[in-house]
């Protein structure tokens, strides 16, 4: 070849390529592009912390500023992954501390983070700016104190829904008076009260603060004072939104909100009391995101509030909204893109709320931009699903949870196969789907046939036989994550589609019918997969080969089997298979 660009030019061009997918594609073009790209890549996303080792990452990419890591499987959110399974971030931080002293951003999800880790982070990265811990655990407020004290340029501290061991509210006081860099602080799920005066001073001196999400322990009467220090806020999470109705407190709050003209996102609202909702009316028209999913307010008050939010794009709410509330939303919130309706009464037998499938149908009709749905309800029909599919072919995420497992179409008593079939057939851009209700192998046939862009599928209490699993594994060409619980899927489909598993990030199966023998076979035949058997009932080898394993987690990896497993997790690989057989 006669002519090629100098490295600097290529590097400059690559600096405009941001997505990981595109960067990966660039690196595959030729060896020199691979070399140039790896040296100028600054952000890494690792969807499964066990798919690759930190050393491999560091060897390939010498200069990284931002790292995202995910640990436990998604079903860990619902207590299906036993404690101690893994997902430890410390080994990563140890390696990063040496290799990337200029690391700025760390985004961790479902990982175990210890105080020791947090201290190491705070000491190792001189220019550390962003720490986001979603659904993490294993650390306490002591670790947070270290971050506050040592990270001089901290911009974002987001604790997501992490479980934090609350030892003291004084960790916040460890932010030095000189710290003015904070732009985002999310402590919404912290249990303990934080030192309020420290919080106030921090908010007061961080004039670039855009996001502030308080925890339930911050009382309403303190909210006004805090907000007055930060009228530039764009994203606010209130604390507990309840107090005795005092006209002074109310009018102060209402006046404060009128000054916060930039607020686009609201959340919090624990224990919300209807009397204080009108204080928000002045900012409703500017809201694009509203999370009322902790507010146990009844539909009339909810409707009054939400029908003023004409620019709402995202709404999270409890089923107290009821069908009538969703009809109102369909009429008022024409720009709605994402709707999540959570259940309020999980164990009640006759629920007080009147939320049915009609509410969702209504929103699907009235909101042309609706593409992301999470809906918990007690009844569903194929007819409703047909309508929703027809109305919203632009749907990208559809998660339906009918509370009672195996619940059929309540009108016809038939399975909901056809309804979900309509969803996957009409919604050609569907990337994420969660199924529920009475479902046979038919629904999986529809999914395998039509859901060609589907990346993540969650299945529970569905199907009749291996044919169901086979349809999904053989048909869904874009599938990356598959999680299954309590389905009669066994060995055949899994073994017949073993190669497919290398094209996916992970497969989770619990309370299914996969035998120990099949797991061993899979582990033996597929060296680039980690086949992990999780069984708290003792080593499966003490039972016959054809007995089913409790839980199975299979993921592709270039790092080989891991060595940090607890005593109820075993990796099926060639060595162990030979040892056990």
């Amino acid at each position: 070849m006669a002519f090629s660009f100098p490295e600097e030019v290529l590097e400059h061009i690559f600096s405009f390529v941001h997505s990981d997918k595109d960067r990966n594609a660039v690196s595959l073009v030729c060896k020199s592009w691979y070399e140039i790209e790896r040296c100028c890549r600054r952000r890494i996303f690792v969807g499964n912390c066990y798919a690759v080792s930190p050393r491999i990452v560091v060897r390939r990419f010498p200069e990284i500023l931002s790292l995202s890591l995910k640990g436990k499987p998604h079903f860990a959110d619902f207590d299906l992954v036993p404690e101690g399974w893994g997902g430890y971030v410390h080994p990563w931080i140890e390696v990063m501390a040496e290799a990337y002293p200029w690391l700025e951003e760390l985004r961790l999800k479902r990982m175990v983070v210890t105080d020791e880790t947090l201290e190491l982070i705070s000491r190792s990265f001189k220019n550390f700016k962003v720490l986001i811990l979603s659904s993490c655990e294993g650390f306490s407020t002591d670790g947070l104190a270290a971050i506050a004290a040592n990270c001089r340029n901290l911009r974002e501290l987001d604790l997501g829904e992490s479980e934090v061991d609350d030892l003291s509210g004084h960790w916040l006081s460890h932010f030095p008076e000189s710290c003015t860099s904070l732009e985002s602080l999310n402590i919404a799920y912290l249990g303990l009260e934080v030192n309020f005066s420290a919080l106030e001073r921090l908010v007061g001196r961080c004039t670039n603060l855009r996001t502030l999400r308080l925890n339930r322990a911050v009382p309403l009467d303190k909210l006004s004072n805090l907000l007055r220090q930060a009228p530039q806020l764009v994203d606010l999470g209130t604390g507990a939104y309840s107090a005795e109705l005092h006209p002074e407190v109310y009018s102060k709050l209402a006046a404060t909100f009128t000054c916060c003209k930039k607020i686009k996102s609201l959340s919090g609202f624990w224990d919300a009391v209807p009397a204080y909702l009108p204080a928000l009316y002045s900012i409703c028209s500017g809201l694009t995101s509203l999370n009322l999913s902790y507010a146990t307010i009844q539909s009339p008050d909810l409707i009054k509030l939400v029908s003023q939010c004409h620019n709402l794009q995202r709404l999270w709410v409890l089923d107290h909204i009821e069908d009538i509330g969703l009809h109102a939303i369909a009429a008022s919130c024409k720009y709605l893109q994402e709707l999540r309706v959570f259940p309020s009464d999980l164990y009640g037998e006759e629920p007080d709320v009147f939320l049915t499938e009609q509410g969702l149908v209504s929103v699907s009709e009235g909101c042309p931009n609706l593409h992301s749905v999470l809906y918990f309800c007690r009844q569903m029909s194929n007819a409703a699903l047909f309508t929703i599919a027809r109305n919203r072919p632009n749907m990208t995420r559809f998660r339906l949870c009918i509370l009672e497992p195996h619940a059929p179409d309540y009108l016809t008593l038939k399975p909901l196969d056809a309804g979900f079939g309509a969803i996957v057939e009409q919604c050609k851009y569907l990337r994420r789907l969660s199924l529920s209700g009475l479902l046979t192998d038919h629904v999986f046939k529809y999914i395998g046939t039509h859901a060609k862009r589907l990346e993540m599928l969650s299945v529970a209490f569905a199907g009749d036989s291996d044919l169901g699993l086979h349809h999904v594994l053989s048909g869904c060409t874009s599938l990356r994550k598959l999680e299954i619980r309590d389905c009669p899927f066994g060995d055949k489909a899994l073994l017949a589609n073993a190669a497919k598993l290398e094209t996916m990030r992970s497969l989770w199966m619990s309370s299914c019918s996969v035998s120990f023998g099949a797991c061993k076979l899979l582990g033996q035949k597929m060296p680039r997969l980690n086949v992990e058997v999780i069984d708290e009932g003792g080593h499966p080898e003490s039972r016959p080969d054809d007995s089913p394993v409790e839980k199975l987690y299979i993921y592709r990896t270039v790092a080989g089997p891991r060595f940090d497993m607890p005593d109820f997790v075993w990796t099926m690989d060639e060595e162990s298979a030979l040892r056990l057989s």
Binding site: F75, D77, F78, D79, L80, E161, R216, W270, S293, Y294, T296, F342, P343, L346, Y347, E349, F376, N382, F386, C401, E404, P405, H406, A407, P408, L413, K414, P415, D417, A418, G419, G421, A422, E425, L438, T440, D441, H442, K445, Y446, T449, S458, F461, D464, S465, D466, L467, H470, R485, D486, P488, K492, L495, A496, N497, A498, A499, S511, C512, S513
Partner: protein
């Protein structure tokens, strides 16, 4: 790995009868009402409910691990604020005159006196009998009493349920002459 696998042996193809018809034209004959799960693997961790739908005490309600798929923070946030107390339960001993051994129950499980009585009746196989406004359970041989914080033996039913829950130390089902005529105030 082969992609076509013969399934005839175990999989009843006739029953699944795959067709590429449009959704909605599916004439699926087999109707499986939720209570019948023939060839499906039985749901683990479920306490079977009786078919009559007769719910005795809240403890028999089916609770599947990890279902519905809700994160624990959300699950916990809707319980009344005394979350610690909720978790531990109020266990009290229950003795019945003449019975060889005692039982223990968690008072938190019951919403009120009627549920408690029903549960005890089932547990010890007796009836507290019918209630009349004037005379209480006069026809019953049994009286339900409890020992309160001060060590006194009180009639069950006199005080509001919440107060009872916090002051009850143990329960005693009295029988015979001591009981006759006392009954229970509920």
């Amino acid at each position: 790995m082969e992609s076509t696998v013969t399934y005839e042996s175990d999989l009843n193809l006739k029953a699944t009868e795959l067709r590429l018809g449009l959704p909605g034209t599916d004439e699926y004959e087999k109707q499986t009402p939720p209570s019948v799960r023939s060839n499906k693997r039985s749901l683990p961790d479920i306490i079977e409910e009786s078919d009559t739908g007769d719910r005795e005490a809240p403890v028999t309600k089916a609770q599947v691990v990890g279902w519905p798929p809700i994160r624990s923070y959300r699950k916990n946030s809707f319980q009344p604020k005394k979350i610690e107390a909720e978790a531990t339960g109020i266990y009290v001993k229950v003795s019945m005159d003449g019975a060889p051994y005692l039982r223990k129950i968690d008072l938190k499980v019951y919403k009120g006196y009627p549920e408690l009585l029903k549960a005890l009746e089932n547990m010890f196989k007796f009836t507290i009998g019918e209630y009349s406004d004037r005379e209480g359970y006069t026809r019953s041989e049994y009286a339900l009493t409890y020992e309160d914080k001060d060590g006194d033996w009180m009639m069950v039913g006199d005080v509001p349920w919440d107060m009872f829950m916090s002051s009850c130390k143990r329960l005693r089902i009295m029988k015979g002459s001591e009981a006759r005529g006392l009954g229970c105030a509920v």
